[in-house]
């Protein structure tokens, strides 16, 4: 790792990290602030939910959860957070090294007396630091807003910890897969289409699979590996998470191999 590159990369990311962190904390705040009004009329709520077609509830993962419980309601906020975290991590992953080639700064960077391995490691760690800060903000705002809005209703902090503990692996999945894909394709013109396709695609796959009660698709999408409802109702992790971990390891290894051998065009 090279401290210069790390610092520079982190500085580049800092604005985006702040924006995402604020957005996520807003989401948790907004969702949890509805909660007390919601739980007050728990009975009415359950009636309201039966109003909805079962398939629709299944699609949003609402069929298995009790929205009148603290964590049940929080899982809704958590799902929204997951979508955002996925997009953020995918954004960082796709742009990590591709941005140098797009902005014509790659040959400048590679002319420095640092190995490619060091460059990639510093950049990767900088992105990871950014993601971890966002992660911490999610932790803090989850505990704070749950405490603020639960109105004395009980919840199990251990399950919440379990849930929040999945975020890092979840982020790493999108970060590393994004990085790998950006190195496989010839040129990344614009990051957003890629990251949206990866993050939203995975989300839609998970919702789609949920609606249809299909297990095969569960293997592909991390939204299923880290499904909040499963963790809340079973208070353990889904063994499918190992798939995510394997993908992360393979993607990191693949990225190093590809980046070390990548043919990077010079500006002129």
């Amino acid at each position: 790792m090279t401290v210069n590159i790390y610092k520079h990369e982190f500085k580049m990311l800092s604005n985006s990290v702040i924006t995402w962190s604020l957005a996520l904390s807003m989401i948790i705040f907004l969702v949890m602030s509805i909660f007390s009004g919601f739980a007050e009329s728990a009975k009415m709520l359950n009636e309201a939910l039966t109003n909805f077609p079962k398939e629709l509830l299944m699609a949003f993962g609402l069929d298995k959860i009790d929205l009148s419980s603290v964590l049940g309601f929080y899982s809704l906020a958590f799902l929204f957070c997951q979508v955002c975290l996925a997009i953020q991590a995918a954004n960082y992953g796709f742009s990590l090294v591709s941005v140098e080639e797009r902005d014509m700064t790659a040959d400048f960077l590679l002319a420095k007396p640092v190995s490619r391995t060091k460059i990639l490691t510093s950049k990767f760690l900088a992105a990871l630091t950014g993601l971890t800060i966002t992660n911490l903000v999610v932790w803090i705002s989850s505990f704070a807003f749950i405490q603020l809005y639960r109105d004395g209703r009980p919840y199990d902090p251990k399950t919440l910890l379990l849930l929040l503990g999945t975020i890092l692996a979840f982020q790493l999945f999108f970060l590393t897969v994004g990085l790998l894909v950006s190195l496989i394709v010839r040129r990344v013109r614009s990051v957003t289409p890629y990251s949206m396709a990866l993050a939203f695609g995975m989300y839609v796959l998970s919702a789609f699979g949920g609606m249809l009660g299909e297990d095969k698709l569960d293997i592909i999408t991390p939204f299923k590996h880290f499904e909040p409802n499963y963790i809340i109702s079973n208070a353990t992790y889904d063994p499918l998470q190992l798939v995510s971990v394997a993908v992360i390891i393979l993607s990191i290894a693949g990225s190093y191999v590809l980046y070390l051998r990548r043919d990077i065009h010079s500006v002129v």
Partner: protein, 264 residues
Amino acid sequence: MNIFFRELKANFRSLLIWGGIAVLFVFIGMSKFSAYEGNPELLAILDSLPPAMLAAFQMGAFNLTTITGFLGVMFNYFAIILSVAAVLWGTDIITKEERDKTVEFSLTMPVSRGKLITAKILAAVVNCVGLTVITWVALMLSSRSYQPDAKYYAFLNLIFVALFLIQLIFLAAGIFLGCAMKQHKRASSVAVSILLVTFFISIIAGLKEDSDFLEYFSPFMYFSAAELLQKSTINLAYVWLSVGIIAVLIAGAYVTYSRRDLYI
């Protein structure tokens, strides 16, 4: 005219990729449906519910054992996929000139900025039409083996009118942001966050019963599949609202782009 064809060509690959994704989802969905069609367990559950309840809760629209009900459920997913594509096309077609540093070149051509935008908007609309048609054809072809009735086709056509309107709203939003945002790099992230916010609103509004006013903020809520099926018409109030939103955004795009200091 040249710009229009140039843009069509440049976006053709992207259209193919999004079309491929849409077709993939159609086929995944349809292959799943084959397991549901006439499924006795599901039918038994539906039969056990009192008919008054079914009617009140619009379950008829989401009867997964019929192809029509199945389409009603799929509608939400197509809305998401198509609008993501539209909003990204919208911002990209405007901001890519600045990103790829070609905006200087295109503005030295003897065309006004207004004409440039017109050509780009038209190309993007053609892309949206293309994507809608691809999805529509894929659905038509894949559902043919289930011998759907005339009502299904009427429903299918209505759904695609609704999908196209939703797409156009997001396309217009994307174009407006691309034109109005000073920092071209921000435009697509703002566009994506608008999409996310409206999507989250649609989920929250679906949860709360008394959230009619929230519905106006999310194009995903304008056209509900259940309503489309039961009334077999599109809610005209929302059609006019959509047209209004699109008109305002496009007008805003022309005004802001013709005055903006472009990044060179």
